[in-house]
């Protein structure tokens, strides 16, 4: 949200009431159920024992969880480092007008529209050395490529798949942000004799701040919840190389139908995302306001 002064108007609450009702129905009620489970040992629907914070303590001490958490953070940071710059470059390179612009937009967005389990399946075939295009090509180049054999290669394949899948999201948002810059800004920059880089640094980047913040946070939280694609592609292996948090949650807890620990894990997981997003959100708000906006 922009931090400029806005008129105070408590009636604005009526405008956001519909949203609150909708989200309360689909978020608060289920969340309370999860909290309820997390403090009980549910042996059967009739036999429940209150156990307090026992599950939380057990989950927090879990060594494997720490490993999964570290892998998750590493993966999410890599995703951001690759996808945000690539997406911005892509948005800058996309033609702004004409049929070319339309064609490029639609083509770029295609990978976003593929259901996530299909994405995993495509890459599963695509990366196979015997029948997949990418696996075959890498083999021809003399690289001993196998996403099921090597931990590094499996991790890189999941990252590459995510870059392929989600960079368009960043690009589309950045592109929409770029298109919203009035021509007057560019004209003023031309009169000032600003270099291409100066235009990018002082006009395009600050004007894209809002959409880029959406892009960074979206990519961060979604990559933190990644489940379907690596599950289909590698199943979390080889070893634990691509077992990220939600995968760990599902195999460990949901797979064993143990509601208490699963709920406790879910809550801790949720709080980790919440905390990291909160930090990121506030940091990005500050970065934005410190940047001198060029006034014309």
């Amino acid at each position: 949200m922009s931090t400029t002064t806005k008129p105070v108007n408590q009636k604005a609450w009526f405008l956001i009431l519909p949203v609150i009702v909708c989200v309360a129905f689909s978020a608060i009620l289920p969340l309370m159920t999860v909290v309820n489970y997390s403090v009980q040992d549910i042996i059967s629907p009739e036999r429940r024992v209150f156990v307090g914070t026992e599950w939380f303590a057990a989950v927090m001490r879990d060594e494997e969880l720490h490993g999964a958490l570290l892998r998750q953070i590493g993966f999410s940071l890599s995703v951001l480092l690759v996808e945000i710059p690539l997406g911005i470059c892509l948005a800058l390179a996309m033609p702004a007008q004409g049929w070319k612009s339309s064609a490029v937009l639609v083509t770029v967005a295609l990978s976003l529209l593929i259901p996530w389990n299909v994405v995993g399946t495509i890459w599963q075939i695509y990366g196979r050395a015997d029948i997949g295009l990418m696996g075959r090509a890498l083999q021809q180049l003399g690289i001993d490529y196998s996403y099921t054999g090597s931990e590094t290669q499996a991790w890189l394949t999941v990252l590459l798949m995510d870059v392929w899948h989600w960079t368009p999201l960043v690009a589309l948002l950045a592109f929409a942000g770029l298109r919203s810059i009035p021509d007057a800004y560019y004209q003023a920059a031309r009169i000032d004799g600003a270099s291409k880089f100066a235009v990018f640094r002082y006009i395009q980047l600050p004007k894209m701040r809002g959409v880029l913040m959406i892009a960074v946070l979206l990519r961060f939280m979604d990559s933190f919840m990644i489940y379907t694609e690596p599950f289909v592609l590698t199943g979390g292996g080889p070893g634990n190389a691509t077992t990220f948090l939600s995968q760990y949650l599902t195999t460990k807890a949901v797979g064993q139908f143990d509601l208490g620990p699963a709920a406790a894990f879910s809550l801790i997981y949720f709080f980790i995302i919440l905390l990291l997003c909160f930090v990121l959100y506030n940091w990005m708000q500050r970065v934005g306001t410190q940047q001198p906006e060029v006034e014309h």
Binding site: L110, P115, F224, C277
Partner: protein
């Protein structure tokens, strides 16, 4: 110099497009092959070209009804999301009110809940209210991540519109609904287009909730597709054909909103 820059850009763009299209090409390629050909040989294009995989999908009701079900709940979800998100985004972008920042961030936190966390509670909630296996159930469940997103995107676009426009309109005697529908909405067409596209997309590709809340009558295509994984080995060819078809509706949607994304704001028209 401008020419050289232009060429570098074009080369970068083309390189990315190739990177983006190759996996999709491979899927299209597979969808015209037989399972035997997919698994036995490496070929750049189908040696024994066949439409059989598509025929299976269009003639088998359990396949094509999946697409219809998905489209119904996705459309419902997009409409509801936008309808509730538009006024809220306006409130956030224009006014200060008690707890505004907290509510805004609280909305975003709903986008951060892993859907896996809510599977069981949703199942129980919708069973209790008798909405299991209906389209509206999935549409409502998907509001969880689409409404915050829509509010967020729209708020960003609305904040880009100078507040003087609102004030001038009110001075000219416009009522709020009339101002909002006739002046403000056209100004943020780009934002509405982008938000609609994202709502459509996230609802379309979501698997976990959609699969949990439906069984027969509202079973979505993404759930139908998981069936091919379990039944008698992998039916790669049909899966590839179904995958190709899942891209089509989304491609049509983005074709319609591309102008909104590309044209940007109609600044200075008022």
């Amino acid at each position: 110099m401008p020419e050289r820059r232009f060429r570098k850009r074009t080369i970068f763009l083309l390189a990315y497009l190739v990177f983006a299209l190759l996996p999709i090409y491979w899927m299209v390629n597979m969808s015209f092959k037989t399972n035997a050909e997919i698994l036995s040989t490496f070929t750049f294009w189908p040696q024994h070209f066949t439409w059989d995989n598509y025929r299976t999908i269009f003639t088998d009701e359990s396949w094509y009804s999946g697409y219809i079900n998905s489209l119904i709940y996705v459309a419902m979800n997009t409409v509801i999301s936008l309808a509730v998100a538009l006024p809220a985004a306006y409130a956030f972008s224009r006014y200060q009110f008690m707890g505004d920042k907290h509510v805004f961030f609280w909305l975003l936190t709903n986008r951060m809940t892993p859907p896996a966390v809510f599977l069981l509670p949703f199942f129980q909630l919708y069973t209790t209210v008798g909405l299991m296996d209906t389209h509206i159930a999935v549409a409502l469940a998907h509001l969880l991540f689409n409404v915050p997103l829509a509010v967020w995107i729209l708020e960003g676009f609305m904040s880009g519109i100078p507040r003087e426009i609102d004030e001038t309109a009110y001075i000219d005697g416009y009522s709020f609904p009339r101002f909002f529908l006739t002046i403000f909405l056209p100004l943020i067409k780009a934002g509405v287009g982008v938000a609609a596209f994202f709502c459509f997309m996230f609802s379309w590709v979501e698997l976990l909730l959609a699969r949990t809340l439906t069984s027969v009558n509202a079973k979505p295509i993404v759930a139908t597709m998981t069936r091919t994984v379990s039944a008698s080995g992998m039916d790669w060819a049909t899966l590839a054909a179904a995958g190709v078809l899942t891209i089509v509706p989304g491609a049509i949607v983005i074709w319609f909103v591309r102008h909104y994304i590309a044209k940007g704001f109609a600044m200075g028209r008022v």
